[in-house]
């Protein structure tokens, strides 16, 4: 009996510990002044947009770094709308979810859906709070010592127009050794030649280039009918040389020559000349001085544009306001860009290259800018209406390959390289799901959810009164406690982890009323089984619990398993359903172990429950014990119901 009494002392302790934890939960809510859960947009109105990334190859996994890059760009766009509480998150491995409460969805949809605009514009004026010298310059790539460095500049004759079929194009590749050592065994190989005919071998007058010297190699090509239809012929070559030390210090560089149809490049160059000749009018200057960084201004390619340094860039190099000319070069002409620390140097640089059209435009533009006075010798790199960088041009950059240096950190250099490389979003997106819920419908859905919860709880309580009578006290207090714990967890998770309760989430919590009550049914029925065996009710509670426990744990484990799988694998607001279902299943497990069972142990100590009085739910005739009152053969416990 000593063992029994010590076992019976425990329930009170367990119960009190549990209540202390509940009080702590409530105290945390009181402390942080958050009494209501964070509601999802379907319960308070707002717009949710789900974008699905499509890989450039059309299939396969989406690069996570690119997805994050895209998320950042989209977040900056959404923030520019000035919407409070908006969030941009990646979900799954290929989706970005944008949600903004109480927003007229159209602006958001338009803003999120557009592809980013990357442009190079000339700087005409720049103002700032404190005078900063421009800290970045654009120049030829820096060359480390003692090794040959080869670069190839390609051109063609004719360059601007494709000759008729049967005509000849002569490609010239000027190989420059910008390194400090000579390059031997020079060879040029063609790759990715787009012509339908065959390019002749590339011939060079010599196979060795001294440091700082140049060699012009040539190849010829005869135009075919198919080329005329295509409209262009592009040659890409790679130059390889061996360093004078005999070891293979080979450096190669690819270059691109396109012979487009006459209209394309020539007209673009003519247009560029016009744009370079543009000067701001007095009106432009007046408008510019009135312009505030937060003002919005349409970004039209042939019109001047006012812009400020993007917030994340300005922290490192100061904030400027720029008066920019018309667009000189569009961002999609950039082929590659990368950030790195060149050999024998200490600071970060960003290297970029243009395709042939971009290279030609860039050469022409840098030619003009390098001779101009500050600040008109600056290029502004503009992304989505914000200036990312505005490097000074010191020289003509002829071959479409340039390097931006000065006051970069790894982060800012990588950021700029990404901006240049992707021009627009790094991935293309499909707008998979746009969901706009008005505040009215949100309120209705919340009400309906709460009504459903109230009805559900009421029905369960009524059923348990009919079937379990006095034990309903236990069912009801347990459900109320479970509700309290779940509610405070949802409130606290909302505050700490930004968990928002959605309509499916509410449904999950209501379904969980059933899950929780089911555990009680299993427990109670087990206790009744034990009592039918002839045990006293007090003993039946203990032995019944031993047996019910296993069933309850495994049943909850299955429930939890399905919730976890649903949470990991489902998309959209359905996640909320899985989350609350899983959370409440956990709460149910904790409840039955630390609240319901100890409370039951305490209740059967009372005469009312312990002796199975009428209405207690343990009455003999309800259990069927009355018919078979017999002394238990092993007589460990006296039958109380006798």
């Amino acid at each position: 009996m000593a063992a029994v009494s010590s076992r019976r002392r425990r329930p009170a302790v367990t119960l009190i510990s549990f209540l202390v934890v509940v009080v702590i939960l409530i105290a945390i809510m009181a402390f942080s002044h958050t009494w209501t859960p964070k509601l999802g947009l379907d319960l308070r109105g707002g717009t949710t947009i789900t974008l699905t990334a499509i890989n450039s190859t059309g299939s396969g996994a989406v690069d996570q770094a690119s997805l994050e890059q895209a998320r950042t760009i989209i977040e900056q766009r959404v923030n520019s709308l000035g919407v409070g509480e908006s969030s941009v998150t990646t979900t799954g491995n290929n989706q970005i979810q944008v949600s903004a409460p109480n927003v007229q969805g159209d602006d958001l949809v338009a803003m999120v859906g557009q592809t980013a605009q990357l442009e190079f514009r000339r700087v005409y004026q720049m103002t700032q709070a404190t005078t900063y010298p421009p800290t970045q310059a654009i120049e030829l790539p820096q060359v480390p010592d003692s090794t040959p460095v080869l670069s190839v500049v390609s051109t063609a004759d004719p360059l601007d127009a494709l000759p008729p079929s049967g005509g000849t194009i002569t490609f010239s590749f000027t190989v420059t050794n910008a390194g400090s050592g000579s390059a031997d065994s020079l060879s040029l190989t063609s790759s990715d030649f787009t012509g339908t005919g065959t390019l002749s071998d590339i011939t060079c007058p010599q196979t060795s280039i001294a440091a700082g010297a140049q060699v012009v190699c040539t190849a010829t090509y005869t135009v075919t009918d198919a080329d005329v239809t295509t409209g262009s012929v592009t040659a890409t070559v790679t130059a390889t040389g061996v360093g004078s030390d005999g070891t293979t210090t080979a450096t190669s560089q690819a270059s691109l020559v396109t012979v487009p149809t006459a209209s394309d490049q020539a007209s673009r160059l003519t247009q560029l000349t016009t744009e370079l000749g543009w000067t701001p009018s007095d009106q432009d200057n007046t408008n510019f001085s009135d312009f505030q960084c937060n003002d919005s201004m349409p970004q039209v390619w042939d019109q001047p544009f006012f812009a400020c340094t993007r917030a994340d860039v300005s922290t490192s190099s100061g904030s400027y306001k720029y008066l920019l000319g018309p667009r000189l070069i569009e961002g999609n002409l950039v082929t590659t860009a990368s950030a790195g620390i060149p050999q024998n140097q200490l600071s970060w640089v960003v290297t970029l290259s243009f395709n042939s059209m971009g290279g030609a435009l860039f050469a022409s533009a840098t030619d003009t800018l390098s001779t101009a006075t500050s600040p008109t010798n600056q290029f502004a790199i503009v992304l989505d209406g914000k200036v990312i960088s505005a490097p000074v041009v010191n020289e003509r950059i002829p071959d479409g390959s340039a390097q931006i240096s000065g006051s970069f950190t790894q982060e800012t250099a990588t950021n700029l390289a990404n901006v240049l490389k992707y021009g627009s979003l790094p991935l293309s997106f499909e707008m998979s799901n746009v969901d706009t819920v008005s505040a009215t419908l949100g309120g209705d859905q919340l009400t309906a959810g709460l009504i459903a919860g109230a009805i559900g709880l009421l029905l369960v309580v009524i059923y348990s009164i009919i079937y379990y009578r006095g034990l309903t006290v236990l069912v009801f207090t347990s459900l109320v406690m479970a509700g309290l714990v779940t509610y405070s967890l949802i409130v606290l998770l909302g505050a700490s982890m930004n968990f928002a309760l959605s309509l499916p989430g509410l449904a999950g919590a209501i379904v969980a009323i059933g899950v929780t009550a089911d555990s009680f049914v299993i427990f109670f029925e087990r206790v009744r089984d034990e009592a039918r065996e002839g045990r006293s009710i007090r003993t039946a509670v203990e032995t019944g619990w031993q047996k019910a426990r296993r069933t309850i744990v495994v049943a909850d484990a299955v429930s939890l398993l399905s919730a976890v799988i649903l949470f990991i694998l489902s998309i959209g607001t359905i996640k909320g359903f899985a989350f609350t279902l899983g959370l409440t299943t956990l709460v149910d497990l904790i409840m039955i172990f630390f609240f319901t069972k100890p409370l039951m142990s305490l209740l059967v100590k009372t005469t009312f429950f312990g002796t199975g009085r009428r209405g207690s739910g343990f009455e003999a005739e309800h259990l069927g014990i009355a018919a078979t009152r017999r002394p238990r053969p092993r007589g460990l416990a006296t039958a109380k119901e006798a």
Binding site: V434, I510, V521, D529, V554, S562, I565, L566, F577, E621
Partner: protein, 388 residues
């Protein structure tokens, strides 16, 4: 099933007071429904249901919601819906000037109108939304709007399929570990598939709309269906753990287990279904459509079928699997022989003073022997008969 596996209700005991509860009589075996013995009927019913499900799935197919088809959906509150309301909205939307809209108009609940069109781009959507707002006499931001891209449905379906496969594998694993008996795990999984197929079949047959919320409901049913089966199998395992060599066959013990947990199964199912019914009610009658209704309906249908299958399908199936074992058949034969002997002995003493052959006893020492609890009385009696 052979006749020896039929567990008949024990003869009525005149001494029994009438107020003993139904649950108790089920539990002692006084009332016993022959679930296992009549399994052929239940298999047949389920086979027909599954056949109907598959046929309606193939012939009628599922009514997929806009989430799977792609398109734009607008909903707006309308003060009073009249017979011309739908046509008015259709005309208003078509007159907005956006081409090839492919409009479908329907009412939701009492005061809302839903307009579905093909997937619209931003400008088209603004135009249509304005037109609807004007017709409804409200502003554009009061018009709820949902747009689903073409690939969304595929993604949802793919994720649900992955979830289903992962769940089934993990559950098979978990059940295998828990019951340490692949036959129990297999029976539970067959019951699970049974529930899935019939629930989907009902959706196809009735033409309920399938949305991502429906899929979620379906996947949640899996957990519920197993919950019931676990409860029944737990009792079966307990009752067959020390299967008496001569007194009852596995089939009888399993059937008795089902009877014993019948009340518990009904209770857990009713209590589980009540909140789901509340969700379904709120979704269907207060909101008229949406995730509440979809989840509620899928759970409602699935939970009822899940309760049915755990009693009528899972346990009989398990019994058949176990009765196929040579050891079990031998045991069944021994039981049969023993009963034959008892019957002969009984016939021999027909002249002896009439006493009830069976008395319901509830005094066995532990629930582990609950089914065999009646046996001591029977055994004692037969011994006495033999010795005389």
């Amino acid at each position: 099933m052979s006749d020896t596996q039929v567990l008949e209700p024990t003869p009525a005991t005149p001494a029994k007071p009438k107020r003993v509860s139904f649950a108790h009589r089920l539990w002692t075996g006084e009332i016993s429904y022959n679930f296992v013995g009549h399994s052929r009927w239940f298999y047949m019913i389920s086979a027909v249901l599954i056949l109907v499900s598959i046929v309606s799935l193939l012939v009628r197919g599922l009514d997929l919601g806009i989430e799977f088809r792609g398109g734009s959906n607008f909903t707006v509150s309308v003060a009073n819906v009249t017979s011309t309301t739908l046509d008015d909205f259709r005309t208003a939307v078509i007159d907005s000037g956006v081409p090839n809209l492919d409009v479908t108009v329907a009412t939701i609940g009492s005061g809302r109108v839903s307009i579905e069109t093909r997937a619209l781009d931003v400008d088209e959507q603004i135009t249509v939304r304005e037109a609807i707002a004007e017709k409804a006499g409200t502003t554009a931001e009061k018009v709820d709007y949902q747009q689903i891209g073409a690939s969304w449905g595929k993604q949802v379906t793919r994720q649900a399929a992955i979830a289903l496969v992962v769940f089934l594998i993990l559950v098979a694993f978990l059940m295998g570990i828990y019951f340490r008996d692949w036959k129990m795990a297999l029976s539970a999984l067959v019951a699970l598939l049974h529930d899935m197929i019939i629930t989907v079949g009902i959706y196809a047959l009735v033409g309920f709309t399938v949305t991502p919320a429906t899929l979620t409901g379906l996947l949640t049913i899996l957990g519920y269906s197993l919950y019931d089966t676990v409860v029944v199998f737990d009792k079966v395992r307990e009752n067959t753990a020390n299967l008496d060599e001569y007194k009852s066959t596995y089939a009888e013990a399993a059937n008795h287990s089902v009877n014993q947990v019948l009340v518990r199964s009904i209770n857990t199912t009713v209590i589980g279904v009540l909140p789901v019914a509340a969700i379904l009610f709120a979704g269907a009658f207060i909101l008229g459509s949406g995730p509440l209704e979809d989840i509620g309906l899928a759970l409602f249908v699935g939970m009822i079928i899940g309760a049915y299958s755990s009693i009528f399908i899972a346990t009989p199936l398990l019994t058949h699997l176990r009765m196929g074992e040579p050891g079990m058949q031998q045991q069944a034969m021994r039981v049969a022989k023993r009963r034959e002997k008892l019957a002969k002995a009984e016939a021999a003493v027909k002249a002896a003073p009439a006493e009830p052959v069976f008395t319901i006893e509830t005094t066995s020492t532990s629930s582990g022997e609950s089914f065999t609890r009646q046996q001591p009385v029977k055994t004692a009696r037969s011994k006495r008969v033999k010795s005389s």
